[in-house]
């Protein structure tokens, strides 16, 4: 049943959940120190397992998956069983979940939250759910683990949250439940129409390769998935829950949710929606691209208008989801591959930003950026961290950060899809630069404001402490590692993406991507989007896209 080291996936998923259950059930009977150790174990195991699996990743050339395992749970009547496995799309996100979870967990351990055991146990359950989402090959469990990860978020916001936490928790609950339900119906529709009698992605694919669904069915089903997942990923105009929720959420919950959980919807569209419903995806993509531009431009301006640091980070995460959507909208190996890298990099970045934002809050007692200033003198290292994170978030090529590669590939894909869309997309980068750099300036440079002086007079403003530095370093190191050595991920991504999102692009044109002579590639029509299930076509175009992804 277990193939090689696939048990590591089970460990990564179930150890955190078990640790969480132990903390919750034992309560105060567990000594403080022991409780912390249990929680630490719960956070370290998935991260280590994820990295190990990344190292050992070598997918089965036939299915594209590695580390497959299968445990029946009693719902075989509708073809559900607990199938785990990783392919090139899920691997980066699995690693992301493990690492961000580790950082969020380490930070939560020192956050000094009241009723720490319950807080940690909820976080652990969430972590287990997150690992489960990206490891599931079974669509049912994919959804199921998402909900396991989602529910603790509501509770954490409702209990440990900041301002307006009740309202935020309620609004998030209703919004995200609606989104989750819509996508659930979409998944059920997919299941029923595929006729595979199984929720397994692979058998659905196999079944659908035999007979393609009618265009109407594809359109409806994909619409359900698109809007269901879209709400979960805060697609414009369904984004209103996001900034509010993140503003109220405790830091670790915000890190996990914005960093990892929000990628669920995109991942669902990339891994399940578009490959299984190619026609529906193609018909909806132009509309999706327009909405995504709304994310980039409109939310970009909204972000610029923010004065509250946490709100700003929240809105910027909404905005950057727009780039991921744009990458997906290209439906080309380049664009989708870029979207996956960007999801990975953005997850690390936004988690880092939330973490550092809270560090800043603890030193200034406010999230209002107008009342900050001059923190850089007291906390130069913190400033360095924050600037790096901000630069990464903007997508500047600066210190070899992964975001840059992600955005670049998305833009290349977009250029091939619709030239004009590149203009507002790049304009979005400018907007990011405006608010990002302004935030850096407001917080760290300039003269200290009145209120900051009074805070500084009361107590000594320290630089970033080791307990804050450790989780931040974990995130930053991975970001830089992938930024310097993108092939560590892109090879795997490319292996999985290119057979699905083949584009009939003559190899010369793509390899000449740097030149000015690129022509948009017609993607519409029959030849543009081959059936998802056609065998991977070895040939120049695959290599070409690989080249683009792996500079």
């Amino acid at each position: 049943m277990f193939e090689s080291i696939s048990f590591l996936i089970h460990l990564a998923v179930f150890v955190p959940i078990l640790c969480g259950a132990v903390l919750l059930l034992a309560g105060t009977r567990l000594e403080e120190l022991l409780a912390r150790r249990v929680a630490t174990a719960g956070f370290v195991v998935p991260a280590v397992a994820a990295i190990w699996l990344w190292w050992a990743f070598s997918p089965d050339p036939e299915t594209g998956y590695a580390f497959m395992s299968d445990l029946p749970t009693g719902l075989q009547i509708i073809g559900v069983s607990l199938k785990f496995g990783l392919n090139g799309i899920s691997l980066p996100l699995f690693v992301l979940a493990g690492v961000v979870g580790l950082a969020a967990g380490l930070y939560a351990l020192v956050s000094g939250a009241e009723r720490l055991r319950q807080y940690l146990s909820l976080l652990l359950v969430m972590q287990g759910g997150l690992m489960g989402i990206f490891a599931s090959v079974d669509v049912f469990f994919f959804y199921f683990f998402h909900e396991i990860a989602l529910i603790p978020t509501f509770v954490m916001i409702g209990i440990w949250g900041g301002r307006e936490r009740h309202y935020a928790a309620m609004k998030m609950t209703v919004y995200l439940s609606l989104g989750a339900l819509l996508s659930l119906v979409g998944l059920i529709a997919l299941y029923v129409q595929s006729g595979a009698e199984s929720f397994d992605i692979l058998s659905m694919k196999e079944q659908l390769s035999g007979q393609t669904l009618s265009t109407v069915a594809q359109n409806y089903t994909f619409a359900l998935l698109l809007f269901g997942f879209g709400i979960l990923v805060s697609l414009w105009p369904f984004h209103t829950w996001a900034a509010l929720g993140y503003g109220a959420a405790p830091t670790s919950a915000a890190m996990l949710h914005a960093g990892v959980l929000k990628k669920f919807g995109l991942y669902g569209l990339i891994q399940i929606g578009a490959p299984l419903l190619p026609q529906g995806a193609e018909n909806w993509m132009y509309f999706l691209a327009l909405l995504a531009l709304g994310n980039v431009v409109i939310i970009g301006f909204v972000t610029v208008a923010q004065r509250d640091l946490k709100q700003m980070i929240g809105f910027s995460s909404v905005m950057h989801m727009g780039y991921c959507f744009l990458g997906l909208a290209c439906l080309s190996a380049v664009g989708v591959g870029g979207a996956v890298i960007l999801m990975f990099a953005h997850g690390l970045t936004v988690a880092l930003l939330f973490l550092l934002g809270n560090c800043i809050y603890q030193r200034t007692d406010t999230f209002d950026m107008r009342e900050m200033g001059g923190l850089g003198r007291n906390a130069p290292v913190l400033a360095a961290f924050f600037v790096t994170a901000m630069l990464a978030s903007i997508g500047l090529p600066g210190p070899g950060l992964a975001n840059f590669w992600g955005e670049l590939t998305v833009f290349i894909g977009l250029w091939q899809y619709r030239e004009w869309m590149v203009v507002p997309a790049v304009f979005g980068v400018v907007i990011s630069a405006v608010y990002g750099l302004r935030a850096v300036g407001n917080i760290f440079f300039g003269e200290p404001t009145e209120s900051f002086r009074s805070v500084a007079a009361e107590r000594k403003i320290s630089d970033i402490q080791s307990h804050e530095r450790t989780p931040a370093l974990v995130l930053l190191l991975l970001l830089i590692l992938v930024g310097l050595w993108p092939r560590s991920l892109t090879d795997a991504i490319d292996q999985s993406v290119s057979p699905i999102y083949q584009v009939t692009v003559p190899s010369e044109e793509v390899s000449a991507a740097g030149d000015a002579g690129i022509r948009p590639v017609a993607l519409s029509g029959e030849e543009g989007l081959p059936s998802c299930c056609a065998p991977p076509r070895p040939g120049p175009e695959n290599e070409a896209s690989a080249n683009v992804l792996s500079p």
Partner: protein
């Protein structure tokens, strides 16, 4: 009468009393309780409820051991066609025994210290349970009617059991009148079906037209007979009252509020489940030829039931009324499952799974309610739950799990139930009904979370919240160790069934 002798023997041979041994033992136990009350000295009478619960446990164990697969009667008619034993009937037997056990436990909690006799409660509880078990296996309208009425009359008494409270009596009276009307309509429907299906001049008519099989055979020949259609509609109305489908749900909030908590739980779970067991039998085995009329009728009812239940529950502040109205919504989802089972065979199992999940979650919630409400019947308002999780974390956790499962949130059993029904509905092509159901689920999340919010979120008080809160004056009913096991077990089962459905689903699959 000589010519009658040989059929007499034949019929007597079909009276296989061993097929209904569980029901008989319950009835004997019920009689035994009354006898014990007479012969026990006063100080020993406190043992009688325990004897009742212990006896039920033995019966439950015996059913699980020997009758899980019908003890050799599976697929047979007994008692001259009065009963038919199938796998669903066995599942419902377990279901009713389980719920009556839990009601028994809640009664020991809730009735303690109230000036009402205890033994009779258990007597009626046992008789009603036996009748419910027969109801779920009935195969003939006479049996169906008598079992149904035994249940109903038992409930009249149980609902008005706290007879020193006007609201309890008032609830009893309302239940009585509305249930009486529904019974009359049901009977008229049966009469019409009997008349038309027994007409010797019509093809397919049977000399025993109230037998479900015979009636089904007749309806296959006359699926569009208007008298039969009218009869079918009236029978559905009668059953609709039991399951509290719209527009026959008007009794629900009042009766739920007035009855004592164990009785409310019994009504909400067992009585409703009985309605669905019967509806499944009627729809699948009797009225199935009338699909063309039956499906639209049930679909409209189901949609209205879902919408009404959820919308009415949105504004409720009284928890019992909230449970009642949300229970109406659950009836709607279940009706969707029943309709789907006409097209998708395994949907019947899905309905039963949903019922089991509903049983676990409802009893978890009602169990918490029984421990919270003081003796005068107050304490059922949402405001009485403020800061529950802080004061009594165990009850808070059980409540959250129960409500979460009712709302259908993964990874709890209620979610699996809803998922199975939705998948079945999708396979059956009931798209618009599915849309309505989803809308209902979103609404339900709102009010269930409102309750959870009252119970949990407020325990982290800020100064503002402190000022807002009315401090609930709560008499503490300590949870006994046994109670901890029972409530904890319900919550644990709800969670485990969300992850791992193994034994239950394989059992229900065999339907």
């Amino acid at each position: 009468m000589n010519e009658n002798l040989s059929p007499f023997k034949e019929i007597a041979a079909s009276n296989q009393w061993s097929a209904i041994l569980p029901e008989i033992s319950l009835a004997v136990l019920a009689l035994g309780l009354l006898v014990l009350e007479v012969f026990f000295p006063r100080h020993r009478r406190i043992l009688i409820p325990r004897i009742a619960i212990g006896g039920q446990l033995v019966v439950l164990a015996a059913v699980l051991l020997f009758y899980r697969d019908g003890a050799g009667f599976l697929g047979q008619e007994t008692f001259a066609g009065m009963l038919f034993h199938d796998q669903a009937g066995q599942a419902m037997r377990v279901f009713f025994l389980l719920s009556s056990l839990l009601v028994g436990y809640l009664a020991t909690v809730s009735l303690a210290g109230k000036p009402v006799p205890k033994v009779e409660f258990f007597h009626i509880l046992l008789v009603v349970t036996a009748a419910l078990m027969l109801l779920a296996q009935s195969n003939h309208f006479v049996m169906f009617f008598i079992a149904l009425e035994t249940v109903t009359i038992g409930f009249y008494v149980l609902v008005s059991y706290l007879r020193y409270q006007s609201i309890s009596l008032e609830a009893g009276l309302k239940y009585l009148i509305l249930s009486g009307v529904s019974t009359a309509i049901l009977l008229f429907g049966i009469a019409l079906l009997y008349g038309i299906a027994g007409n010797p001049l019509l093809a397919g008519a049977s000399p025993d037209p109230m037998n479900f099989g015979a009636l089904n055979a007749f309806l296959k020949n006359h699926p569009e007979n208007s008298l039969a259609l009218a009869g079918m509609a009236m029978v559905i109305v009668g059953v609709g009252f039991k399951i509290a489908a719209f527009p026959f749900q008007i009794w629900v909030p009042d009766v739920y509020q007035g009855a004592s908590t164990p009785v409310t739980a019994f009504l909400a779970v067992a009585s409703k489940a009985a309605g669905f067991a019967v509806l499944l039998i009627l729809v699948l085995k009797v009225f199935q030829p009338m699909e063309a009329v039956l499906v639209p009728l049930l679909s409209v009812l189901a949609a209205l039931t879902i919408l009404f239940g959820n919308i009415a529950a949105l504004t409720q502040r009284n928890t019992k009324r909230l449970m009642g109205l949300s229970g109406v919504a659950h009836a709607g989802y279940l009706m969707v499952g029943v309709i789907a089972s006409l097209y998708v065979p395994w949907a019947q199992g899905a309905v039963l799974f949903y019922l089991f999940a509903y049983l676990l979650a409802s009893f978890a919630v009602f169990g918490v309610m029984a421990h919270l409400s003081p003796e005068d019947g107050t304490g059922d308002e949402l405001d009485d739950y403020l800061s529950l999780a802080g004061d009594r974390p165990f009850l808070g956790a059980v409540l959250v799990i129960g409500l979460g499962s009712l709302a259908g949130i993964p990874p709890l059993a209620g979610f699996i139930g809803k998922l199975l029904i939705f998948v079945a509905a999708f396979q059956a092509g009931l798209y618009w009904l599915l849309g309505v159901a989803l809308f209902g689920v979103v609404l339900s999340i709102y009010y269930y979370f409102g309750w959870i919010r009252s119970a949990v979120f407020r325990y982290w008080k800020t100064a503002d919240d402190e000022a807002e809160d009315k401090q609930p004056s709560r008499e503490r009913r300590e949870v006994t160790p046994v109670g901890r096991w029972i409530l904890g077990g319900l919550a644990a089962a709800t969670v485990v069934l969300g992850f791992f459905q193994g034994p239950l689903s394989t059992w229900l699959e065999r339907l």
